[in-house]
């Protein structure tokens, strides 16, 4: 059952929020010893909130489709009175006195928060092998990585512990776990969702967004969390709209581009699957055409310089506490500290030029359909992946097709597009112009309605 189905069942009194929440907590209790998706479970508070939701719905107060729905947030979103670790030993005892903006908005929408989700330490990595709170495991194969940094979110949604989760994405951290775990993941336009109350990783690259079981559910979640917030200096005043695609929506006439540079050094199954999805879009009436996009390797290099410099700046107050960091995060912070100011500024200059160049793509097409990751979930602990007889760093490979979109600040949706021959999910990425979330969700929903997706997760 997805959010929209559960919402309908709640309104028809076929089920109560208390029953949904009790079932979700039982599932967490049964599976989380293996998956390690949660850092903190707030069972008692969740049941209290569920009873309130039932009472409100019974009295005719309806807050919308998230009302009474069990959800969870990545443990970098501040939650008043609930420990917020950011997956770090530095913050293992930190209890905020206020809620992050997305937590406030989910509460206003009536969602039932089940707790705080495990993640890569400080959101600085894509494995979610957290040295302090345990390695998150992939529900499709527990020997495999869920991706990261929102790995707990991916695992919790895929395994049916929650109906939706909110994650953050600085270089692919929503879309990579979505692809590896077989969920939908939406990175909205930069500034579309407030970052207030979320631990920063890199201010100019951080995006907040949902992971869900269906494309329309991602629209439902975005409806709840999108909008201007004066407490976030990057928050956009662009008006928020209804992002949920209509039933029976179509891709007919939509100009979809595919860029060859996104199809280099791919796992064969992934390439076949994504090309099949593009052919499916064409068969549904989309106008599919090849396009040339600016150099992905250059975009990624610019993104890494900005990320490393900004993350090192964020963590400067903790520079003396080297023993508190995992080895991989510490190495990245050290690299960031070594980057000269001129390189950071030049990266931001290149970013402006790249945004301008990439903007030309939207004169030819309305969105791009490309793979999310070049491969399926690697084994936990795997450090390299092999393409065309050449080893590639697993962290760089997993982010190779997503990181550049953070540099550009564009919205991007990852959705499941099939299982590999080894039974692992593969993800398709739909990228659109700034603030065109409704368009990319519509393309995704039309493909989903036509049958693109996955069989149920075995866990």
């Amino acid at each position: 059952m997805n959010i929209l189905e559960a919402a309908e069942a709640l309104r028809r009194r076929r089920v109560s929020s208390t029953e949904l929440t009790t079932a979700a907590l039982a599932r967490i209790d049964r599976l989380d010893g293996t998956l390690r998706a949660f850092i903190t479970v707030t069972a008692e508070a969740a049941l209290g909130r569920a009873r309130e939701a039932d009472s409100e719905l019974a009295s005719g107060r309806d807050r919308g489709p998230l009302h009474g729905i069990p959800m969870a947030v990545k443990d970098l979103f501040s939650t008043r009175g609930v420990r917020t670790t950011s997956g770090s030993r530095l913050f293992e005892s930190y209890v905020p006195d206020r809620d992050a903006a997305v937590v406030e908005r989910l509460e206003a929408a009536g969602a039932v928060p089940l707790g705080k989700l495990n993640m890569h330490e400080l959101a600085y990595g894509v494995t979610s092998e957290n040295p302090h709170f345990g390695a998150v495991r992939n529900p499709w194969n527990t020997e495999r990585s869920p991706g990261g940094s929102s790995g707990g979110a991916g695992a919790a949604v895929a395994s049916g512990m929650v109906y939706a989760a909110i994650g953050s994405d600085t270089g692919g951290s929503i879309r990579v776990p979505a692809a590896f775990c077989g969920t939908v993941g939406l990175k909205p336009t930069y500034g579309r969702v407030s970052r207030y109350g979320a631990l920063p990783l890199a201010w100019s690259l951080d995006h907040m967004g949902p992971l869900t079981r269906s494309v329309r559910d991602a629209g439902v979640a975005l409806n709840a969390i999108a909008g201007y917030d004066g407490r976030d200096p990057a928050s956009a005043r662009h008006p928020a709209i209804d992002y949920v695609p209509d039933e029976g929506c179509s891709v007919r006439g939509i100009r979809i581009g595919f860029a060859a540079s996104f199809f280099e050094r791919l796992d064969g199954d992934v390439e076949l699957c994504v090309r099949g999805a593009i052919a499916r879009a064409a068969s549904l009436g989309a106008e599919v055409k090849p396009v040339v996009v600016p150099d992905l390797a250059a975009l990624n290099a610019v993104g890494r310089v900005i990320l490393m410099a900004e993350a090192a700046s964020v963590m400067e107050p903790y520079r003396e506490r080297r023993e508190s960091f995992g080895a991989d995060v510490l190495a990245l912070l050290d690299q960031g500290r070594a980057i000269p100011a001129t390189d950071y500024i030049n990266a931001q200059r290149l970013r402006r030029a790249m945004r301008r160049d990439f903007g030309k793509v939207w004169r030819e097409v309305e969105c791009l359909v490309v793979p999310t990751t070049p491969h399926t979930a690697p084994r936990i602990g795997q450090t390299t992946v092999r393409f065309d007889g050449r080893d590639e760093d697993a962290r760089l490979a997993a982010t190779r097709l997503v990181r550049g979109i953070n540099v550009l600040g564009l919205p991007a949706l990852s959705m499941p597009c099939g299982l590999s021959s080894s039974g692992l999910p593969m993800g398709l990425q739909i990228i659109g112009p700034a603030f065109e979330e409704a368009l990319i969700l519509r393309v995704g929903a039309a493909l989903e309605d036509d049958g693109l997706g996955l069989p149920p997760c075995p866990m």
Partner: protein, 58 residues
């Protein structure tokens, strides 16, 4: 090309000697892609840094 080992040693003295190669290896690799990009940047290309001066009421 930059000597990242020297830069890291000077700028981040707390890196233990045994870890320096692990830290600078990725910077060397990144340098190969990044350095050619900045070689010919026009002077009037400003950084994409955002400062919301109006929003701060100044």
């Amino acid at each position: 090309m930059k000597d990242w080992k020297a830069i890291a040693k000077a700028g981040v003295p707390e890196i233990p000697a045994g870890e320096i190669d692990r830290v600078v290896g990725p910077l060397d690799a990144l340098e190969e892609t990044f350095r050619p990009l900045v070689k010919d940047l026009p002077m009037d290309l400003e950084p994409a840094l955002a400062l919301g001066v109006e929003e701060e009421g100044q």
